[in-house]
Symmetry: C2
Subunit: 92 residues, 2 copies
Amino acid sequence: RPHLLSRNFNDNGRRRTVVVRAEGGSSGEHINPAIRKSEDKVVDSVLVPELSKPLTPYCRCWRSGTFPLCDGSHVKHNKATGDNVGPLLLKK
Amino acid sequence: RPHLLSRNFNDNGRRRTVVVRAEGGSSGEHINPAIRKSEDKVVDSVLVPELSKPLTPYCRCWRSGTFPLCDGSHVKHNKATGDNVGPLLLKK
Ligand code: FES
Ligand code: FES
């Protein structure tokens, strides 16, 4: 659903209100902009006995090209927005 | 950094432009609004041999009161925004 914001501003002494659509429509508030949007809820399972490496990073930024694994895309997101998100590291 | 949007609208036939601050300032683009904001990057490690339960859900929505564990807060976020995020399930 589109998200609308109303804002007041001053137009040569007249008070005016404008309603704008939030950036990106409803996706402006979405944590996940693009991954598996046909699913109601994106849940992934890891069978930990099957982990092959000593350390496997899993994505929590919803920007990875290899989701549910982390591919380092959180770095670009953090730089662009000032955010501070990072992966969950699974250690055998 | 605050994020500004400019929008055009029609005021009785006159074209006007208004600039508004995006909702929540820069945090409008943040995936993580509040967790451990003093850290440059929030990374957590799970030692999988120490998992006690057959299934442990880990948060990927950054809204959990028990982060890095999932407490079900993704449901409220999804309902409020139309998003579709969910946890990572670790299975022993
Ligand atoms: S790519 Fe998403 S947390 Fe690393
Ligand atoms: S509370 Fe964040 S994914 Fe469940």
